[in-house]
């Protein structure tokens, strides 16, 4: 029985390159011996339980490492496995078994694709919500302040609006904020809102919100608007972004998808990984479509609550369309509803709010 189990290979002393052709054999009591092939001289002896047998990967050579550091190398994968299975009474080649080229690999492929999709579709959004919940207000506070600081240095100029004009707009803004705190879904302490006026520089007429509640509106937008209600419609939209914590979600979503790609990483190649990460950023941007719709609806509700024109934001979009011709029913990659669709939807919702609820 012993003879049939002997495995041929090469013996090397610890860390040495010189090799001797040798035979690995095992006695009934589980003692391994290595002998030279030429004259049967014993080179090493040790219990099979205490040697280290390298795991099987494809058909590469296997190594049996002895306590002395001596190394027995063989290409006879089946021989080594037979010897190990019989004398250790357990199978350790589970991973190798899974890896063999069998039809079940198709199931693995399907499972991998399904898992990637499930993580993207379900796990990432949940993790984003959790991350948003545990983010302390202090963090969003510093975030908002530092972003505004950077923008002031890079883009914005001092505002040129008169004090009276600014005070008038600020009073109306504070009324919106007060109404926002009464909204059913308002977060309980809520962010501390502040309206900031800036010269728009390169970005022209624009308004945006930072996660800490800082809302920035440019002089160009104030000048462009036909009436103050339009400006308030835009500001209500920005308050909506803050209340729904859209920018924080966006940051976490990009981080989550990048982490997912890095998880598979290593095995898909650096170039592919880069392309996928870039693609993920683009995909994450498409979420801004849902966020914009949400903020539009919020604007309609809030304006209605304060007794102003709920469709003010839609009127502002129409003004933009007429002035700059950003219209047409183009939808690119469905990343954002075409502006006409957005106006129509906002108007429809405004009618609904006016008619239905109170």
């Amino acid at each position: 029985m012993s003879d049939s189990e002997a495995v041929g290979g090469l013996w090397r002393e610890a860390g040495a390159a010189a090799a001797t052709p040798a035979l690995l054999d095992v006695a009934a009591d589980g003692t391994l011996t290595v002998r030279t092939s030429a004259d049967g001289q014993e080179l090493a002896r040790q219990a099979i339980r205490s040697v280290e047998i390298s795991a099987r990967v494809g058909t590469i050579a296997r190594h049996v490492t002895f306590a002395s550091g001596g190394d027995f190398e063989t290409s006879d994968n089946d021989g080594i496995d037979r010897l190990r299975d019989r004398h250790l009474g357990r199978r350790e080649g589970l991973i190798h078994e899974l890896e063999r080229f069998r039809p079940r690999l198709l199931i693995f492929v399907a499972a991998t694709i399904a898992l990637c999709f499930a993580i993207y579709r379900y796990a990432v959004p949940v993790l984003v919500e959790v991350a948003v919940l545990v983010t302390p207000p202090a963090v969003t506070d510093i975030m908002g302040k530092s972003v505004l600081m950077s923008l002031d240095q890079l883009v914005f100029d001092e505002t040129k609006l008169s004090d009276a004009r600014r005070n008038a707009l600020d009073t109306q803004f504070q009324a919106l904020v007060a109404a926002a705190r009464d909204m059913p879904a308002a977060s309980s302490p809520g962010p501390s809102y502040a309206l900031n006026f800036r010269g728009g520089g390169q970005i022209g007429p624009n308004a945006f919100a930072l996660p800490d509640g800082s809302v920035v509106v440019t002089d160009e937008l104030v000048d462009l608007a036909d009436d103050d209600e339009m400006i308030m419609g835009v500001l209500a939209h920005e308050i909506g972004h803050v209340e729904h914590q859209h920018s924080l979600r966006q940051i976490y979503r990009v981080a989550g998808i990048t982490a997912l790609i890095m998880l598979i990483g290593g095995d898909i190649g650096a170039a592919t990984e880069d392309i996928m990460t870039q693609g993920a950023t683009l995909v994450a941007l498409s979420h801004s479509r849902a966020a914009e719709t949400e903020a539009d609806r919020y604007s309609v509700q809030l304006m209605h609550r304060t007794g102003q024109d709920p469709a003010a934001i839609a009127r502002f979009f129409e003004l933009l369309r007429d002035k700059f011709g950003l219209g047409g029913d183009v939808t690119f990659l469905s990343t954002h509803p075409a502006t006409q669709a957005r106006i129509d939807e906002t108007r429809r919702y405004a009618e609904e709010v006016k008619a239905g609820k109170r």
Partner: protein
């Protein structure tokens, strides 16, 4: 393997230079199974298995790379890789959180990162070398911190400031550092690529890049500019819509430029590897040889990338095997004298002994 170990010396062979080719014996069918199980288990274990996956992947590639009848081996312990990955991940996480929370700290953080990265690269190279063996003898890496700083930080700055004109200088530092600091057992390896030879490989990619840029900018001016003008007005007011439009357009316009940059980079990488390998001498007597066909290398890389993307990554195992096979066929070792006699005297020495239990992997920059 046994027959290669048989004595093959004659007096005549002792004096002649003999070319030993590298041979790669892996195949896509076998590797596909390893790869898909790696990916699946990595996802199921939330990334923890990735360390084990890396060991199986590299053991497969090293174990299938043969030279003069013996194969290479990869000995890293997955646990040590996992520890290294957690350390790097925590550092990256802290960096990103700080950057997002407090943007003005970016300057200080970038400065810190610039000094930490060479250290991580050095540790990574040392780890990779020490867990690699050929004929039971470990490699070692003796490069220090400032060598890595010169090769990777100063080198990057030099390339950037000179718009690539001085890239061969940086390549010389990089190859000298990575290959010249290697040791095989107790034997030194030297690598001294001459600057004029590196510049000889610099012309083709430089010309391709400049000619391509001129062509692309010409097309861009003729075609793309009117398109951008249309959206100029849209850039105001409706912030989200216009942002997405503009970003999408920029991506579409950038793709040809990125492809051009990729091709030039591949040409350059292949050329400089040839130069560096051909001037790498092991123990003063065995000379590496590399004869990559530069356009062939570009073709294999680009078609591999295209196949991988078109199949949602499923062609990756085939692509990886294809590249490894090609790289093996264009690499060889020119030796003199009896390899058997030579190897009989070599031993693993110093810190490389048992380092797979102690060392932690840093940045993995390949080796």
């Amino acid at each position: 393997m046994t027959d290669a170990e048989a004595p093959r010396t004659t007096a005549a062979q002792d004096l002649a230079v003999r070319r030993e080719p590298f041979v790669f014996t892996g195949n896509a069918r076998e590797y596909f199974g390893i790869w898909i199980v790696n990916v699946l288990l990595t996802i199921v274990t939330l990334g923890v298995y990735s360390a084990w996956a890396k060991v199986r992947r590299l053991r497969y590639f090293y174990g299938n790379t043969h030279l003069a009848g013996a194969s290479f081996d990869y000995h890293a312990r997955p646990m040590r890789i996992l520890v290294g990955r957690i350390i790097v991940l925590v550092l990256l996480g802290l960096y990103n959180i700080t950057l997002n929370v407090f943007a003005p700290a970016g300057v200080v953080l970038a400065l810190i990162l610039v000094f930490v990265i060479p250290y991580l690269i050095m540790r990574g190279l040392r780890f990779s070398a020490r867990v690699t063996s050929y004929r039971n003898v470990r490699f070692d890496f003796t490069g220090g911190y400032w060598g890595a700083f010169l090769a990777y930080v100063v080198g990057a700055i030099v390339i950037y400031l000179s718009a690539g004109v001085l890239a061969p200088i940086a390549s010389q530092w990089m190859w000298k550092y990575t290959l010249g600091n290697l040791r095989y057992g107790d034997r030194p390896i030297s690598c001294d690529p001459r600057l004029e030879k590196l510049y000889g490989q610099w012309w083709l990619p430089a010309v391709v890049l400049v000619a391509g840029l001129v062509l692309l900018v010409g097309i861009a001016v003729a075609v793309a500019l009117p398109v951008f003008w249309q959206f100029d007005g849209g850039a105001v007011g409706d912030e989200a819509a216009s942002t997405v439009w503009i970003i999408a357009l920029i991506y579409a316009a950038l793709i040809p430029f990125l492809a051009l940059y990729l091709v030039a980079g591949l040409l350059y990488r292949a050329g400089t590897r040839n130069v560096a390998f051909n001037e790498t001498v092991i123990d003063g007597r065995h000379v590496l040889s590399s004869s990559i066909g530069r356009w062939r290398y570009v073709w294999i890389s680009v078609s591999n990338l295209a196949a991988t993307i078109c199949t949602l990554g499923l062609a990756r195992p085939w692509a990886a095997i294809r590249m490894a096979s090609y790289m093996a066929t264009v690499t060889a070792l020119d030796t003199t004298g009896s390899l058997e006699d030579y190897f009989s005297s070599i031993k693993t020495e110093g810190a490389a002994v048992g380092s797979e239990f102690m060392d932690v992997e840093g940045f993995d920059v390949g080796f």
